[in-house]
C-alpha cells in the first residue's frame, strides 16, 4: 500500500497545488486496492476452476483408456503389455494432461493479462502524475507481474511430474507441460495366469483387464486429484500452486 509511504510527498505537493495533489494520491491508492482485489478474485476463481475442471474432465480420460483396453486381444494383453502401456496408455495420459493443463493455464493467463491491461491503461491515463510519486509503482507492479511469471515458471513445483519444455518464455504458464508418471503394472499378471492354466482365456483376460483398469483408474485419479492425500503433488495441486505463486508475487509487489 502506498498512502503512508508517500505521506510526506503528498503533504509537500499539497502546499504547491492543493487539490490536484490529493486527487493523485487517492487515485494511485485506489488503483492499487482495485488491482489487489482483482488479483485475489482471479486466484479464487482459477484455483477453484482447476479442481472442478479436472474432476469433471478426468472421466473423458478414463473412458478413452477403457475404450483402448476393450480392444485388446488375448495375445496383446498377455505378451505386449509394456508396449501397450508405452504406446497406447501413456500417450493418452500425456495428451490429456497437456491438453487440460494448457487449457486451464491459458485461461488463467488470458484473464491475468487483462487485469494488467487495466493497470497499464491507468498509467497512461495518469501520465501527467509525477513519476516518483506514483507512476513508478504501477510500472513496478506491471513489471513485477511479468517477472513473477518467469519466477513462477522457474519454481520446481513438479516433483511428481516430468517436465517437457515446449519453447521460450512467451507465456506465463504455457512454457512447461506436465505428464503423469503412471506406470505399467498389473496387466503382466495375465502372462503368468496363461502359463499356468492355458484355458478359460476369455475369463482370465477379462479379470486381468478389469484389475488393471481399476488400478489404472485409481492411480490416475490420485495423480490428477491427489485423492489419497499421500505422495507427490497431484496435477491439480501443481497447477494451483502456479496460480497461487503468481497471485502472491503480484500482491506482494502491489503492497510494497
Amino acid at each position: 500500500m502506498f498512502w503512508f509511504k508517500k505521506k510526506t510527498g503528498v503533504t509537500s505537493d499539497k502546499q504547491v497545488v492543493k487539490n490536484k495533489a490529493i486527487t493523485v494520491a487517492q487515485s494511485n491508492n485506489l488503483n492499487s486496492l482495485s488491482l489487489r482485489r482483482n488479483v485475489l478474485d482471479w486466484k479464487d476463481k482459477h484455483i477453484t476452476n482447476i479442481e472442478l475442471h479436472l474432476r469433471r474432465e478426468i472421466t473423458s480420460l478414463m473412458q478413452a483408456i477403457d475404450y483402448e483396453l476393450d480392444k485388446l486381444s488375448v495375445i496383446d494383453s498377455t505378451f505386449k503389455t509394456r508396449k501397450i502401456h508405452a504406446n497406447i496408455i501413456q500417450p493418452l495420459i500425456n495428451e490429456w494432461t497437456q491438453r487440460e493443463s494448457s487449457h486451464l493455464l491459458d485461461d488463467a493467463q488470458k484473464e491475468l493479462f487483462s487485469l494488467h491491461g487495466i493497470v497499464i491503461d491507468q498509467i497512461e491515463y495518469t501520465s501527467e502524475i509525477d513519476e516518483h510519486n506514483s507512476k513508478a509503482h504501477f510500472v513496478d507492479a506491471a513489471t513485477a507481474a511479468s517477472l513473477g511469471v518467469a519466477g513462477v515458471v522457474a519454481i520446481p513445483a513438479f516433483s511428481s511430474a516430468s517436465l517437457v519444455s515446449t519453447g521460450g518464455l512467451f507465456g506465463l504458464f504455457a512454457t512447461t507441460t506436465l505428464s503423469l508418471p503412471i506406470t505399467a503394472t498389473s496387466i503382466l499378471v495375465i502372462g503368468a495366469l496363461f502359463a499356468v492354466s492355458g484355458f478359460k482365456m476369455t475369463s482370465i483376460k477379462e479379470k486381468a483387464i478389469k484389475r488393471y483398469r481399476e488400478q489404472l483408474h485409481s492411480s490416475i485419479k490420485d495423480s490428477v486429484l491427489g485423492v489419497s492425500g499421500k505422495g507427490n503433488l497431484s496435477l491439480s495441486e501443481q497447477l494451483q500452486i502456479r496460480i497461487l505463486t503468481a497471485s502472491n508475487y503480484i500482491i506482494n509487489e502491489v503492497d510494497e
Binding site: 500500500m1 498512502w3 503512508f4 490529493i22 486527487t23 487517492q26 487515485s27 491508492n29 485506489l30 488503483n31 486496492l33 482495485s34 489487489r36 482485489r37 485475489l40 478474485d41 486466484k43 479464487d44 484455483i47 477453484t48 479442481e51 472442478l52 474432476r55 491507468q122 495518469t126 500482491i251 503492497d255
Partner: protein, 324 residues
C-alpha cells in the same frame, strides 16, 4: 457542518458506470478519484445489531430475517446496499466506513457471538477439544469490561486519556482473537462456524479500538491503526480460497453416504459466500484510512462525526461527499 449526502444522489452514476463503488468509497470511473465515502449510521447499527450471522450472508438473505427487526427499514437498507453493488453484507462486519455501534451494543453483540462457542462444543472436533474454555471466558469478561469502561468514559471530565487507554487494552484482546483465527486456519479441517465466531469477536475489538481513538480525536493514530488492521486482515484472509476451505470442511464431516463430489459442491456454495464476504471486509477495511484522511483534511472531529451519524433517523448509510 459535515457535508453528508444520501446514496440515492449517486445511483444514476453507479448505474451508468461513471461511478464505481469499491470498499466503502465511491470513485469516479474516469479519474479514479474519490467522490464520496460511504458511512453507516445509527439506523444501520440498530437494524443489524440482533443478526449475528448476517455479515456472512448474501444481501438476499435479509428478507428471511425474523420479526425482531424492522423489516421495512431493513429492506430499505438492503436496497441501498444493492444499489451500491455490494454482493454480500461482509462490510457490515467491520462497519461501513467506521463502526458507529455504541459500546453497549458492541458488548451485547460480543456476548451473542461468544455464546455460540459453547453451542459449538457439541461438534466433536479434535481442535476444539484443545481449546480452553476458561481462556475464552477470561477474554470475554475482559472485553466486556473494556467496552463498559469505554461507554462510561463519555461522562468523564477528561475522557480522552481513558479512551486511549481502553484502545490499547483492546489491541491486546484483538491480538488474542487474531491468534485463534490463525490457529483455526492452520488446521487440516475447517470449522466455518468457529471461524465466523472468532472473526466477529476479532472485528468487534478492532472496531472498538478505532472508535475509542476517534472519540479521543486521535485521528492520525486511528488512521494508522486502521491501516495496520487492514494489513492484518489481508494477512489472515488473502490465503483463503473457496475450494480449499470446501475440501477442509468435508474433512470435518465424519460419516456420510453422500458422494464426495456432491459434498464438495455443497460445501463450495458456502465457502464461496464466505470468501466473498471476507473480501468485502478486506476492501472496506482498506478504504477506512482514506475516510480518516478526509476527516483530518477537513478538520472534522471524531466526536462530531459520530454525533451526526448517531442522530440520523432515516438513512442507514450516508455519503461523505468529497466534492462539496
Amino acid at each position: 457542518m459535515i457535508p453528508f449526502s444520501i446514496p440515492a444522489n449517486f445511483a444514476s452514476g453507479i448505474a451508468d458506470g461513471s461511478l464505481i463503488r469499491f470498499g466503502a468509497i465511491i470513485k469516479d470511473a474516469g479519474s479514479g478519484s474519490i467522490v464520496a465515502h460511504l458511512q453507516e449510521t445509527g439506523v444501520s447499527q440498530q437494524l443489524l445489531s440482533n443478526t449475528v450471522s448476517l455479515p456472512f450472508s448474501p444481501i438476499s438473505a435479509a428478507s428471511s430475517l425474523g420479526a425482531n427487526v424492522q423489516l421495512a427499514a431493513l429492506t430499505n437498507m438492503m436496497a441501498v446496499m444493492q444499489m451500491l453493488q455490494f454482493a454480500t453484507l461482509g462490510a457490515t462486519l467491520i462497519g461501513v466506513g467506521v463502526s458507529v455501534a455504541g459500546f453497549k451494543a458492541m458488548s451485547t453483540r460480543f456476548d451473542q457471538v461468544q455464546s455460540q462457542i459453547s453451542s459449538l462444543s457439541d461438534n466433536v472436533n479434535q481442535h476444539f477439544q484443545e481449546l480452553k474454555a476458561r481462556d475464552y471466558r477470561s477474554h470475554q469478561s475482559r472485553v466486556k469490561s473494556l467496552l463498559e469502561q469505554a461507554d462510561l468514559a463519555y461522562s468523564y471530565s477528561n475522557s480522552t486519556s481513558e479512551w486511549i487507554r481502553i484502545s490499547h487494552a483492546l489491541a491486546d484482546e484483538a491480538g488474542f482473537y487474531q491468534g485463534e483465527i490463525q490457529y483455526l486456519l492452520s488446521l487440516d479441517v475447517f470449522d466455518e462456524q468457529l471461524f465466523q465466531t472468532f472473526t466477529q469477536l476479532y472485528t468487534i475489538c478492532n472496531s472498538a479500538r478505532i472508535k475509542c481513538l476517534m472519540l479521543a480525536d486521535e485521528l492520525l493514530a486511528a488512521r494508522d491503526i486502521s491501516k495496520a488492521t487492514s494489513n492484518q486482515y489481508n494477512f489472515l484472509f488473502d490465503p483463503l480460497t473457496p475450494i480449499t476451505l470446501a475440501k477442509q470442511s468435508i474433512n470435518l464431516i465424519h460419516k456420510t453416504d453422500q458422494p464426495y463430489e456432491h459434498l464438495l459442491r455443497q460445501e463450495l456454495m458456502n465457502t464461496k459466500q464466505l470468501v466473498s464476504s471476507m473480501r468485502e471486509v478486506q476492501d472496506t477495511a482498506a478504504t477506512r484510512p482514506l475516510l480518516l484522511d478526509t476527516l483530518i483534511e477537513r478538520n472534522i472531529s471524531g466526536q462530531a462525526f459520530f454525533e451526526r451519524l448517531e442522530s440520523e433517523k432515516i438513512e442507514p448509510i450516508l455519503c461523505l461527499d468529497t466534492t462539496l
